[in-house]
């Protein structure tokens, strides 16, 4: 195995040496590893979270001396399918996919598998098709942590509004699942309204404003991401963080700012940079022929005013 690998490395190096004159920009790629080209099909680049994940991936690729091409799927599953196809035909050494849609990604992943290109799923899983590994935050666990956090904030008693993300995404489903399960341990904490706000700040503001009319007595808000939590904070004004406890999810820069200001009480922080890094690290391991675990959980952390400085 290692013999074959070193042979192929020699062949590659020779090939590189022969083509160096043709493409000057590649002339600094001396040793074998620098030739490893990875493709990263990211679902969208319109959220700070995704951008941080991309930055983490790029940093790790740089540290490992690999080349990474990032393609923005613009939240459109068919755009992403085309990008995956391009990666496959470019014969990249490994693909990291952050699927727009866990189901719709399957055919593209299958094509890559057939072409013997290892695929790593990042942040969201791929359904019905094998990937080498899924690197994701533990959203169910995070949901449970959020339930515990809001119960503790409320002294285990109170009425809450739950702002739901895009219900079609696995993140929203898993967080909701964990939160619902976690809340079972606190029978006196009741979800009196559960409304969609599509992960967006402006919708979080509108929906909270509306629900405050039908339930003016809510004591807490759990938002399935920080953006919606920030919208809720805007709707609640001076009450946010004090009379009405706010628990968000993700740990975005703006979320941390709100924690510091005291308008948000807790956010369940994902580590998007870590997600990007771990995805690239594991892709590189597969390329090197090392065995990896199929489920790689990047831990989430409850962030409060006490420990926020360690995160931001």
């Amino acid at each position: 195995m290692s013999m074959r690998k070193s042979t192929s490395a020699v062949v590659m190096a020779t090939a590189v040496a022969l083509t160096v004159t043709a493409c000057g920009s590649d002339s600094d790629s001396g040793d074998g590893k620098e030739n490893v080209k990875l493709g990263f099909a990211i679902s969208a680049l319109n959220q700070p979270f995704m951008i941080q994940m991309k930055e983490g991936a790029e940093a790790e690729a740089k540290a490992q001396g690999a080349k990474i091409t990032v393609q923005d799927g613009q939240d459109d599953a068919s755009t992403q399918a085309n990008q995956m196809q391009n990666f496959t035909s470019q014969q990249v050494k490994g693909i990291i996919i952050n699927p727009v849609d866990s189901d719709a990604a399957a055919p593209s992943v299958k094509a890559a598998n057939n072409a013997k290109i290892p695929v790593i799923a990042a942040d969201r899983s791929v359904n019905k098709e094998k990937v080498k590994a899924t690197v994701a935050s533990d959203n169910v666990e995070g949901g449970k942590m959020a339930a515990k956090a809001i119960a503790e904030q409320l002294g285990e008693k109170g009425k809450i509004l739950q702002l739901r993300g895009q219900v079609s995404t696995s993140a929203a489903r898993e967080r909701n699942k964990g939160f619902t399960e976690g809340l079972k341990e606190y029978p006196n904490v009741k979800v009196v309204a559960k409304q969609p706000a599509d992960f967006l700040r402006d919708k979080g503001l509108n929906v909270t404003q509306n629900v405050m009319q039908s339930h003016p007595d809510i004591d807490g808000v759990f938002a399935e991401n920080d953006e919606m939590a920030l919208g809720a904070i805007k709707a609640l004004g001076g009450k946010a963080g004090k009379d009405v406890k706010i628990v968000g999810f993700d740990g975005t820069p703006d979320g941390f700012k709100a924690i510091k200001k005291g308008t948000m009480n807790v956010t369940i922080a994902q580590q998007p940079k870590e997600l990007g890094k771990m995805s690239v690290r594991n892709a590189m391991r597969v390329v090197d022929g090392t065995d990896i675990q199929s489920q790689i959980k990047v831990p989430v952390k409850a962030v409060t005013k006490k420990n926020v400085d360690r995160f931001s």
């Binding site: 680049l45 319109n46 959220q47 700070p48 995704m50 951008i51 739901r164 219900v167 309204a193 559960k194 409304q195 969609p196 967006l200 700040r201 402006d202 503001l205 509108n206 929906v207 404003q209 509306n210 629900v211 009319q213 039908s214 920030l230 919208g231 805007k234 820069p253 703006d254």
Partner: protein, 330 residues
Amino acid sequence: MAIDTQPGHRLDKRPSGNGPPPVIRRLVLDNGALLALVAMVILMAVLSGNFFTTTNIVNVGVQASVTAILAYGVTFAIVSGGIDLSVGSVAAFSAVMLGWFTTNQGVPVFFGVILAILVGTACGLVNGLLIAYGKLPPFIATLAMLSAARGLAQVVSEGAPIALPDSLSWVGENLNDYIATPVLIMIAMGLIAGLVLMRTYSGRSMYAIGGNEEAARLSGIRVQRQKIIVYALVGAFAAVAGIVLASRLVSAQPNAAEGYELDAIAAVVIGGASLAGGVGKASGTLIGALILAVLRNGLNLLDVSAFWQQVVIGAVIALAVLLDTLRRRA
């Protein structure tokens, strides 16, 4: 009775003494959308005790404001026989530029707002030039801008929200329990839109071009130039909507107002405009935006599930327009 040539009136066989006064009848017949709005308000008030309160009515107004302002602009495009799909993206891009100018570059807020409106106008101008001189169908030109302006918003903001200066927050807030600034801006922009449509050369040209472009050209209207004005105006209105939206959050979001173009188009059509061009009013558009806002607000108050909300919104859009079509045929 025979002298009164309003088509609807001839159907009314009752003696005039028993029916509602002709003024009210005409109001109802001319305003199918208004009727739908009143019906919805009554329905919501019956279903939820929290609907018909001062605070909630103000909330509905505020929540309608962004859609309404966008939709006024789209009314210009639709009346002139075109369409503008880029308003949501242009609103987000203008708002992001406002954040970039004021927060990142230290431009005074007042000039920042002017510059942001100019950015929106410039986007509209590009749409107009592509349509008038590039001969692109409005659908395609503005579809391209939908993508490009969204992309530019991401580029400038590097994908992250830009905080706005606190001195802008009043634009998105309530002055007191009864009056909110976004509602005032919505009314002011509505008056401007109405004035443009009814009282200016450009406005009358929009109806003429939308009614019959060739006839408009033959009667001496400089169609290409007027089209550029139309889309530049749409861009300016989108920028104002973007500024209101961002001010409410005191944060310019590159992903804000995604899909709002569809709400805006729905508002215009519910308001009685024809996608074939030549028909449409600013007041109708305002009512269309209010209908959508009442609906979303009511669905929240009634705690309707996420999936059903989309179904209900779709059904109401279809019903509102259907009602209007039936009324016209009568």
